[in-house]
């Protein structure tokens, strides 16, 4: 099975918990989308369950799924023993090769509505606006709510062509020290600001998002200024 859907919507957490209901922890293997992970999965599915009745493999392809790893997974899917279950989690099923995709059941995962988001907890309107049905962002957004709001306001000013030239939002200054969840939340805030405007300024801000996502060593402060002053 392949589960595909937007990030921070709980695919991985849900599948993992469901697999643990089906089988024991000793009979479950979680690997990433690299060739090493795929080879490990290949060896694992060939073995007999220790506690339960099935062996489950959860392949996390959210951080990328390399071609050699997909080839190895294709081999697993072609020769899966009856006592094994393989689940691949990706953000976009288009990243999978057609040969592999045709051998898997596709489950599309969607973001949830604001009503569903509010179901369990009382969330700030700003968090709902930025999270857009992705519950995985709520924690990081709520924990630094004021800073996220001030970042949103600064990003909206940049997109509107009225940047504050005297300072940089604190979350951008601290970018290299932020954990992955907070970084995702910061990027979501910037994307929300981009949606509030259009034109060259919005495009400069989207370049900022793209650069800090794709070049980890880039200095976020410098590229923030780039979207402000050029």
């Amino acid at each position: 099975m392949v589960v595909a859907g937007p990030s921070k919507t709980g695919k991985h957490v849900f599948i993992r918990s469901e697999l643990l209901v089906l089988t024991a922890e000793q009979d479950m293997l979680e690997v990433d989308g690299t060739i090493d992970g795929a080879r490990q999965a290949q060896r694992f599915v060939k073995t007999t369950p220790v506690v339960g009745t099935i062996r489950a493999v959860l392949i996390d392809g959210r951080g990328g799924f390399t071609d050699p790893a997909q080839d190895a997974c294709l081999k697993i899917c072609e020769e899966t023993p009856e006592s094994s279950a393989v689940v691949i989690v990706v953000e976009d099923e288009g990243a999978l090769r057609p040969a592999l995709l045709s051998r898997l059941d596709l489950v599309r995962w969607h973001s949830i509505s604001d009503v569903e988001m509010r179901h369990d907890t009382q969330l700030d309107d700003f968090v709902l606006l930025v999270a857009r049905g992705r519950p995985g962002l709520c924690g990081a957004l709520s924990s630094r709510l004021e800073e996220m709001k001030s970042l949103y306001s600064a990003a909206c000013d940049v997109v509107a062509g009225k940047p504050d030239l005297s300072s940089v939002p604190r979350l951008i200054l601290e970018w290299s020290k932020l954990d992955d969840d907070t970084k995702d939340a910061v990027l979501a805030v910037c994307v929300t600001a981009i949606r509030s405007g259009f034109g060259i300024r919005a495009s400069m801000m989207s370049q900022f998002v793209q650069i800090v996502t794709s070049v980890p060593s880039a200095n976020a402060e410098i590229y923030w200024w780039r979207s402000c002053v050029t």
Partner: protein, 307 residues
């Protein structure tokens, strides 16, 4: 009565040289090897001993914080001051040395190098700038290079650049700041020379790009903030700089580039930075033209403002 000579100054090399010159004036070359530098405590012990075989003796006291006790056995005492200026009525001579100042493109250093050439009877006119560029503000290193040139220049006593290039060792403390300063001064050749030197020493291209990015960004922000009507103090506070530094180091250079040129440069530097981080070598085809462009523009605008 003993002879007291005081040497004050802010450069150890110059003080050392003056002290050794004084020794040379007082003692014949045959006995000079008996002298050795003394600390103040050693001096006090030494001065109590009556000289046995020599008529004249010299003691050099290094890094003295005060004037030592003077005896009357005819010893010449040369005192090199540590930090504060020493003075005494009993001193026969007080020599004050002063380290040249590095600003104004090292003009004082170049003058000092030329004087040093005159002292040693060697013409350093054509290599003085290169000497300063290569050795920086370390007078000991400059003197060591002059020593090499003196040997090579032969009976003509003229040091030429090709000879200097062969023997000179690059030892100046360099940082990307020197490249940026040369750009601001409108010296493309000097900026590129510094840049090449940094590259030769294995300096990270990313470091140089980052330094230039900061510099260009500082100028763009200063211009834009001043245009909004903020005072120099407020702009300095926004940039996180001391107002005095902003007034003396940033403001005089604000007119060197057009704002659109600075913006263009910032975009180029950001692109070069990304390419460098992605593993593409941008040092020659990317960064060099940008250094030349910025320095040429600074030179042009500086000349226009001057005229």
């Amino acid at each position: 009565m003993n002879t007291l000579i005081l040497v004050n100054g802010d450069d150890d090399f110059l003080k050392e040289r003056i002290a050794l010159d004084e020794v040379a004036m007082s003692l014949a070359p045959e006995v000079r090897h008996f002298i050795f530098p003394r600390e103040r405590d050693q001096y006090l012990e030494f001065i109590d001993i009556i000289p046995l075989s020599v008529a004249q003796r010299v003691v050099v006291v290094w890094d003295a914080s005060d004037v030592p006790v003077i005896g009357d056995d005819g010893t010449t005492i040369i005192v090199s001051a540590s930090g504060k200026t020493l003075n005494s009525d009993k001193a026969k001579r007080v020599v004050n040395v002063r380290k040249p100042k590095p600003y104004d493109d090292g003009a004082e250093y170049i003058k000092w190098i030329l004087q040093e050439g005159e002292r040693l009877n060697i013409d350093l006119t054509r290599v003085a700038s290169a000497l300063f560029l290569n050795c920086g503000t370390d007078l000991r290193k400059i003197c060591s290079e002059i020593g090499k040139l003196r040997v090579l220049s032969g009976p003509e006593g003229v040091a030429d650049p090709s000879m200097a290039r062969r023997v000179m060792c690059f030892s100046a403390e360099l940082s990307p700041k020197h490249v940026v300063d040369a750009i601001c001064d409108g010296h493309p050749a000097k900026a590129i020379a510094f840049y090449d030197k940094l590259q030769e020493r294995g300096c990270e291209t990313g470091w140089i790009i980052a330094y230039m990015q900061r510099h260009v960004l500082q100028h763009i922000r200063s211009r834009l903030l001043l245009a909004t009507g903020l005072s120099a103090e407020q702009v300095a506070a926004s940039l996180g700089l001391h107002p005095t530094f902003f007034r003396s180091a940033i403001m005089p250079r604000l007119g060197l580039w057009d704002i659109s040129s600075l913006r263009e440069s910032f975009v180029i530097l950001c692109d070069l930075d990304l390419m460098h981080k992605r593993g593409i070598d941008v040092s020659h085809w990317g960064l060099e033209p940008e250094i030349i462009r910025l320095s040429e523009e600074a030179k042009h605008n500086d000349a226009r403002c001057g005229s």
